[in-house]
Symmetry: C2
Subunit: 341 residues, 2 copies
Amino acid sequence: MAGTGATTARTTVSGVAGPRVGLVIGVDIGGTNLRVAIAERSGTIAGRVSLELGDVREPASMIKLIRRCVDQIVQEHSLDAKTLCAIAVGVPGITDAARGVVIATSYLMGWIDVDLRNLLEDEFGIPAAVENDVNLAAVGEHHAGAAQGVSDFVFVAIGTGIGAGIVLNGQVHHGFNWTAGEVGYLLLPGLKEQPAERGKPGALEEIAGGEGIRTQWLSGCDLDQAPGSATADAAQITATRIMDRALAGEALAQDVLHRAARMLGYAIYNISLILDPPLFLLGGTVGLHPAILAATRAVLAERGARLMPRVIPSALGADAQLVGAIFRAIETADRHSPLAS
Amino acid sequence: MAGTGATTARTTVSGVAGPRVGLVIGVDIGGTNLRVAIAERSGTIAGRVSLELGDVREPASMIKLIRRCVDQIVQEHSLDAKTLCAIAVGVPGITDAARGVVIATSYLMGWIDVDLRNLLEDEFGIPAAVENDVNLAAVGEHHAGAAQGVSDFVFVAIGTGIGAGIVLNGQVHHGFNWTAGEVGYLLLPGLKEQPAERGKPGALEEIAGGEGIRTQWLSGCDLDQAPGSATADAAQITATRIMDRALAGEALAQDVLHRAARMLGYAIYNISLILDPPLFLLGGTVGLHPAILAATRAVLAERGARLMPRVIPSALGADAQLVGAIFRAIETADRHSPLAS
């Protein structure tokens, strides 16, 4: 299944330019895809690859796959591998960015206390940084997306699950246990109050996350009444398609959408009460859908102008994490001397 | 009704000592009381006064009352008024600390866009600072209370209403509209979802604030069945007395307490999910009651060890705001040259 999506265009992701030489590696490990890019220290992407992870889950196999992608980009774009000077990797889980350790990922990946930075530095022989993927998406938007010049904002990523990257005074706010932004577990009116089991989705995710949207739609959809092929189609449906159906007027999809948007609006309202940031960005495959943006804004507008944060879509879309990884790699390179080569 | 509670003891509120000379004024404007202290630039309190506000509400009258308290302290403690070099005032409302403007207070006081800093500087002829009272309580605990040496924490004040002072990286987090920490309006399971009217208590305050606790207890209490004097006693009851009754085993008081503690626990849980601070302090007359501390901790413990913040009482109690005002006044003095005198 693994196929490359390498681009040959040299895309500038930032206006940052400096005298420093060398290349950096940015990596985004997603739930289903791996994205790898090599960029100049100015932020200009020299080449990139993305592929489906398939059943690759083990840290050691993941490192090998990243190595393979890096080699492929170097070769395709005739880059000088000796000038690679830092790597940064985004991971879908709780990550100690200071030690470079992945504390825990969801049950899908099952990592516990994986010293990913060490593994990366052993493999590549260059300084490495490891960070939560949603935090990196916020870094990407801050440097080269919809939050440029904004020192305080919250990036809410709604994909399979829901998480937030919180930037305060221009820096990612990590929290004491590296769990700041775990908003998928927020307690909100109408949501169940029982604590979620370890590694299982939170109550907000069950209503407004991609998997939760699918589950609600499927449970409201009478599959037994549909002809065989329609049943198979329905079982394959994505949250994005369900929101398309809501826009097209399907009542069930609209119900599911409005329930999701109400809870998402309440989550944003609660975050506003606590932090009062000037800006929220919605990202992730679900968060980028125009239907959820409009419905969430409507829920916030109902609550009046007293506290009405600006809510706009991510500018970098599916690339936010990868772009953030590139900028984190550049910062990492800047903190170390260039490699002697 | 106004009586002084001046103390003659010179209390050290901090180990901070410096070569700087001069005195500062700290003021806490509460809903019912005004507290004023004069302190040395080391933080040592030289004298203090507290009195009931009665029907004083107008900014100009408030300034006159503060002036009267300052004069009284100066006289009682034979201080040199010419060495007063800064004043800081805590206000129960949304406050633009950069401009020194009180944007809004509750309907009880009714201030809108009051340029309190200017009024203070005109009256006293020294640099003035104005800040939200709960934020100042957090500053007090940070310098001289239960959060010394802790750079990230949340002070939750539960008095008549509920508010939070959020300290991140050692600094008060104010938010874009100066409304960070307005947690009395949080949306939580079991609370009503309708937006509160402007200036009216939030849904969390209706359940866990002092006035809300009183209202719930009174509505559950069949006053018509009580003899005349008992009815009068009941109508005068405070939230603190209701929690005493809960500890003594009264079923109605226990119901009210547990409902309040559940919502307070949920609020703290939500703040933890978003910010993940290592420490919460409970303050305010209700928050300082041991019954609510124990019951709130029990609600958090139910949710498991995954996210179990430390929750402890304020160390400075009713003085937290005043001590915070003193330290803010010291900072203000440090930013200006000492007065020529």
